[in-house]
């Protein structure tokens, strides 16, 4: 076993160990949410995965970013073949494991990867330009300063490095195939590297070329490993989570808010429609969502899936007209709050156990967690009450995220449990309760028909 094989194997083991812990933490963060019914049968779900996730169907509502995104996405998918070979070579110590096994097909696949990688390179530059020079409005909103802005750029720079790695590796390889054919089997003519290699490295000697080839190989690998361990901190997690998020989306009308059976049954028994169970609960129940633990786990999955593209906020009528509400920020806040709680719970620190739930030897869990904060420390009432429930954000999201659901769940908490909310609504509430209409009027409801001649 060569030194490089040992280094590779150790390096891979460490990265996968760290990644395992990180992704387990993301999973736990998502599971902070409540279990919930997710209507939809598997055939409907898989169709969505094919069309919306793999097929990028909703991206094409805006075709310019969609085309550039498609280049990067396809390059990402296809480069997995090359990555697989990097792993096989890394563990096995060989060079280009597939080349002599699949021959012409190898040339074909590699050319496909090369052309898409070139397109992805262009797309990445375009995306950096759109974010930093063109300053497309949805990338420069108030929630896109600081970390989210840096994150977006780091991802794009990482992608450039990946591609630089691939092209250095292949470009040097093409030249080495002539100089040292015994160690560098013929890959056939490559669409990019057969031209780029000689142009950049044509004058270099074999040993320098060898260093460049290894540099490209390791650069690609290191950046891939960097991505794997960086993604849990990044909005770029969508490359994995978009698929389960689309799979688990709810097959129900956008117009249907989740029913609250506990309130329905309470009202039914008040109205004498069902028999009162007679049991009075001792605890005053809390309704709606105060924190991420009161949201459904799917809402939290959506928050971690969000890649902060801002299509939602750019079509939100409240946001367009200068209100504080931004659907993207709602999803980012849910994610950040879930991360905060998850990290605190994993610390096991007993200071986070709610005062009334402290007992000998009790471990910190999501059920006894209390840090004195809530989702309302992240999302203000002003944001929640600006939503018109128009569903433009839902329509706009390429990966089927629904920001309206958590907004309305938080309104429910604020109104039902906090007895807060806009004072303007009180006359409407009172009027519905007392006279069955949204306005308090002296007329009878059917009075209008007297004025109609038919």
């Amino acid at each position: 076993m060569s030194i490089s094989q040992i280094v590779f194997t150790l390096f891979t083991a460490i990265v996968f160990f760290i990644a395992f812990k990180q992704y387990r933490a993301i999973y736990a963060n998502i599971k902070l949410g409540k279990d919930e019914d997710l209507p939809g049968d598997p055939s409907w779900r898989w169709k969505n995965v094919l069309l919306v996730a793999f097929g990028q169907k909703k991206m094409f509502k805006r075709w310019i970013p969609a085309v550039f995104h498609l280049f990067i996405y396809l390059a990402f998918l296809l480069t997995q073949v090359e990555l697989l070979e990097i792993f096989i070579d890394g563990f096995g110590g060989g060079h280009r494991f597939f080349v002599e096994r699949i021959g012409g097909l190898y040339t074909f696949i590699l050319n496909f990867i090369e052309i898409l990688s070139l397109l992805a390179f262009v797309a990445t530059i375009v995306f950096l330009w759109r974010r930093n020079i063109l300053k497309v409005p949805r990338f420069v909103m108030s929630e896109m300063t600081g970390w989210p802005k840096l994150d977006g750029n780091l991802i794009l720079i990482g992608e450039l490095l990946l591609l630089i790695g691939i092209f250095s590796m292949n470009g040097a390889d093409v030249l080495l195939q002539n100089l040292d054919p015994e160690h560098y089997p013929d890959t056939g003519t490559l669409a990019v590297s057969s031209h780029l290699g000689p142009a950049l490295f044509g004058s270099l000697d074999t040993s320098t070329l060898h260093v460049i080839e290894r540099f490209g190989w390791w650069l690609h690998l290191v950046v891939v490993f960097g991505f794997i361990t960086y993604l849990p901190f990044s909005k770029h997690l969508h490359i994995f989570l978009a698929f389960p998020n689309v799979y688990f989306s709810k097959d129900k009308s956008r117009g249907e808010m989740d029913n609250m059976p506990e309130i329905m049954n309470e009202v039914k028994s008040m109205m004498g429609l069902i028999e009162d169970s007679g049991e009075m609960s001792e605890e005053i129940p809390e309704f709606g969502s105060k924190d991420v633990m009161d949201l459904g786990w799917k809402n939290i999955l959506e928050a971690f899936t969000c890649t902060e593209c801002g299509r939602c906020s750019s079509v939100c009528p409240a946001n367009i007209t200068g209100k504080k509400l931004s659907p993207r920020k709602i999803m980012m806040d849910i994610r950040d709050r879930a991360t905060e709680i998850g990290n605190n719970i994993r610390s096991g620190d007993a200071q986070y156990i709610a005062d009334d739930k402290i007992s000998e030897g009790a471990a910190l869990t999501k059920d006894n967690y209390d840090d004195g904060k809530s989702l309302f420390d992240y999302i203000s009432a002003e944001e929640l009450y600006a939503c018109t429930t128009c569903n433009a954000c839902v329509e706009a999201c390429p990966v089927l995220i629904n920001p309206v659901e958590p907004i309305l769940a938080m309104r429910r908490y604020d109104i039902l449990t906090n007895s807060a909310g806009p004072a303007d609504w009180l006359p409407m509430f009172n009027s519905i309760e007392n006279s069955g209409a949204v306005w308090q009027l002296s007329d009878e409801r059917a009075a209008w028909i007297k004025e109609v001649e038919i």
Binding site: S253, G255, M260, V267, A318, T388, L408, W439, E444, R445
Partner: protein, 258 residues
């Protein structure tokens, strides 16, 4: 004479369809005109219809979207008691909020009905030959159509209203943001009943500015709250004498001289 369902029952009869009037259609001066127009269309098409009259109450949509689930359940369960008591099977309404709540939210509470928005029923009546569009009052007029969120984006009905408008021989011009991209009027989610949060602009102003860019004679709508918001927007732009905001049913009534 428009009859209530109680009157039908007293006569031992049953109407083909229940016209759910809604709060706006019952009480709002502007929306009452839409109720009248739609009732005339039903009558002219030979459809027997009833209203619930004083037995109808708010569907609970604004309460639910405001977050007040108790109030929603009280309203909704009361309505379902009445509707089921009369064995109502088919409902039509000129309000997309009522339409949405009756259609999608009442089933979970025990109220299952076939629910139509009035533009859908009008389109059916035209298809069945029960209603003929004749008169040509709007020939050559520029009409732009505003998709309400609860009929359009939320319930996917973009075509029925446009099909009807196309039969008026008018010049139908689309706004930049239409169909699934249509901009909200600003009233949904119980916004109708409160002041806006601080911002640069009111949503209805943004929408009416967009509508005015099409240089319309008429802005057509399908929702009483959109009509209010768009008319307020027009007044703010001092265009209320140049451009009219009309419900689809009102256009038909004017066109056919009903």
């Amino acid at each position: 004479m428009i009859k209530t369902i109680a009157e039908y029952v007293a006569e031992g009869q049953k109407p083909e369809i229940l016209f759910w009037v809604g709060c706006a259609g019952s009480f709002d001066a502007r929306a009452k005109k839409v109720s009248e127009a739609f009732a005339k269309i039903l009558s002219a098409s030979g459809i027997s219809f009833a209203i619930l009259g004083n037995e109808e109450s708010c569907t609970g949509d604004p309460a639910r979207r405001a977050g007040n689930e108790f109030l929603f359940q009280m309203s909704a369960l009361q309505n379902i008691e009445v509707l089921n008591g009369y064995e109502v099977q088919k409902i039509v309404t000129a309000c997309p909020h009522c339409f949405n709540t009756l259609k999608h939210e009442y089933p979970k509470l025990g109220g299952d009905y076939e629910v139509l928005h009035h533009t859908q029923l009008i389109q059916q009546l035209i298809d069945e030959g029960k209603l003929k569009i004749e008169g040509g009052v709007f020939e050559g007029k520029r009409i732009t159509y505003h998709d309400s969120c609860y009929l359009g984006r939320i319930n996917g009905e973009y075509e029925a209203p446009r099909d009807i408008l196309n039969q008026l021989d008018a010049n139908l011009v689309e706004m930049e943001r239409s169909r699934s991209k249509g901009l909200c009027c600003g009233a949904g989610g119980a916004q109708m009943f409160k002041e806006d949060e601080p911002g640069d602009k009111r949503i209805n102003i943004d929408r009416i500015e967009e509508a005015l860019k099409t240089n319309p004679d008429i802005v057509a709508a399908n929702c009483p709250f959109c009509i209010t918001m768009l008319m307020d927007g027009l007044k703010a732009q001092e265009k209320q004498d140049d451009v009219m905001v009309l419900d689809i049913s009102e256009l038909i009534v004017q066109n056919n001289g009903l």
